[in-house]
Structures are given as C-alpha cells and as structure tokens.
Amino acid sequence: MSALTPTPGQTIGPFFHFALPFELDREIVARQSPEAVRLHGYVRDGEGNGLQDAMIEIRQADSSGHVPEVSGSMRRDGATFTGWGRSSTDPTGHYWFSTLDPGPTTAGSAPFIAVTVFARGLLNRLFTRIYLPDPGEDAFLASLDESERESMIAVREADGSLRFDITLQGPEQSVFLTFPRHAE
C-alpha cells in the first residue's frame, strides 16, 4: 500500500477541560492500592511559568514489562491495569498520575513511560519518555549528553513518588522525540 500524507495536527486550545478529562482519568492504579506509585511534576514554558492548560497522557507496561491491550480506561473498574492515563494540569501547571513502575519491555533497554504533551500555544503534540531512576544500560540514553540524559530520568522522592518535570523551551527544555514515520 502506498503511503498517504498525514492530516496536520493543531493545538488542543484552551477549552478542552469540559471534554477530555473523565473520572479516574489519571488513576491507572487505584490510589489506595499498596502497589500504587504517584508520578507527578510540572509543565513549564520558556520563562518557567506553569501551564494551566496543558494535558499529559502516558502509556506504559505493567511491572512485568507487558504492555496491556485491554479496554476500560475511560470507565475504570478499579482492578484492570490498562496502561494508559490522562492528566490535565492544575492552575500551577502540576499534573499527577497514580500508576506502577513499568518493567522492561525490550531486552537490553531500560524501562520507561511513554508521554505525549498537549497545550494551548503548542501547535502539535510532543512526545517524550520518563525513565526510572538507575536505568542501567540503554542505547537511546547512551546517545544523549549527560544533561539531556538526566532530564529524561525521573527522581524518586522520599515517599516513593516519581517526580518528572516537562519544560517546553529554553536551556532547561525537555528532550522531545520524533519517530521514523513522523512527517517533518
């Protein structure tokens, strides 16, 4: 089959909050579950201001490295791990999820959580990855310079939470990804 030209993206705009959030959207694992891990951080612009109108989605494997392909993310039953969640930011730019540490999916690669970022003022989505602390050997991380590598690794906080900030612009900018079949 011949390749088609993809439809262009556009910004999510300022008015998505009445449409895209849903109940338990960010609770991939019930918060009261003993295995729940809180993943959280701030989304910031080029001047360090938190974005009150950003939306983050994550996609990940379970702790054994299996990526689930099961429905039920929008009406969660409290038991099924679907491996996908959505969190809009609060007025300070803060997002959070209740999830699990992902296991490794690929031999020789470090486990990570896949991320997409949407925001008013951002004309197309951005992709990044959240690696777990102490990632070990990984070809992609090895291809980055030290400050870029560090910026892709979450910080484990004293209570076990993972902290990961996303900065859209400037010297502290996060590493954003493009994949082979993305149009330029």
Partner: protein, 247 residues
Amino acid sequence: MDGQDLVSKEIEDIHASAPPGETQPRLDFAPYRSSLLRHPTKDLRHADPEGAELVAPVFGHNDVDVLEADLTIQAGGEPIGERMTVRGRLLDGDGRPVRGQLMEIWQANAAGRYIHKRDQHPAPIDPNFTGVGRCITGDDGSYLFTTIKPGPYPWRNHRNAWRPAHIHFSLFGTDFTQRMITQMYFPGDPLFALDPIYQSITDPAARARLVADYNHDESEHEWSLGYHWDIVLTGSHRTPMEAEELA
C-alpha cells in the same frame, strides 16, 4: 494589542520563505502569540519506538456509549443551530483503516460559545448543547457524529481576531506514536486567511487537509447537512504481518 494587518503580514512573510511541502504545523509560529514561550527551541531527537510506544491504548464499547456520537440528544432538549453530520474514515499512514479506536470531539455551540469557565465572550450558552462527543470507529475505520454547526468566535491573539468555525478531534491509531489532536474546519470560511492557527501549516495543500467537504449525498432530507472528512494518521511501525494479525 497588534492589529490583523501586522499578524497577516507576519504570516505572509513566513509563508513566503517556507519550503514547499511541509505537512505539519510549525511549532515556532510567532503570529500565534501563545506559541512564543511554548515551542521547543532545541531540535526533536530521533528515536526508534520501543515497548509501549508501539502499542496504542485500547478502548471499547464498555468505555463509550453509542449515543455519545450524537451531540444533539445529550441535554434533554433540541440545541439551536444548523443540524449537521460529519462522517469519514480514520486511516493510518499506509491507508489501512484504524478500527475499533476511540475518537473524541469538542466544539463551540452555534453562537461560538464553549461550555468553559474561561470562555466569557458575550454569546449565549445553549442549555441543550454540551459540545462533547465520542465514538469508537467501525471495522472499516468509519465514524459518524451528529451535531450542530459551531460558530466562529473571538479570541485575544490580536485585535479583532476570530477563529474560523471548527471542531476539535482527538485521535489514536494502533501505535502510541500516532497519537494526535487536530481541528476540522468548514469549506469556504472567509476567516482562513486571517487565522494564525490554521496558517501555522505553511503548505496550502496540507492546510486544505483540515477542511471537510460538503457532501450533498450525506445530507438528509428536511433534517441535516452532511460534511465528510477523512483523517490520516502517521505510519504504524508494526510490520505488515503484525498489522494483519490485528485486523
């Protein structure tokens, strides 16, 4: 506040120096003032997709009720405005239908007003219209929403700035790398040339991919006007054999 003339001149200058054939919006597009501090200044990094990036989330009819595809029946009474349908197919970059996948839409009402606390422009709320819809695509990638044609609305990018009427679409493919959000526009809108969000796509043929067709065969006698819009995601990274197994 800058005027339309200045913003239009900025758009014209960027378009004049853009190479032909850019298929996606520029992230760095100054005529859209909100992008100034929100576009990456470092190049995107090339990565080979791995693990969860190769597997889109899965949704089903346990997630979405079929009635959610009709935005005219959600609030108890008839919404005001031009009743319309929009239908088409969701395809991947190789032309394969994306079947059984979640589509979400949201939009302003016929007067150009969103149900959102930050939309305070003095146009009426329609108590019978929420402007939110969802569906799960069919086996051939098809979708159908019944709604009310949204109105254009003013915004504060520059003086007397108006967004062309549009419906927001949120889309998933078979890979997580195909995730996208976009906006569908209506044919012949006089605001296209003035709108920095639409014009952030520098190539005219690429911009036109966001404009639905009016399709008279899809209009219904004494009932609704039919618009048609097919959507193409980026390519999947699964091998053709894996894709067939999914089919």
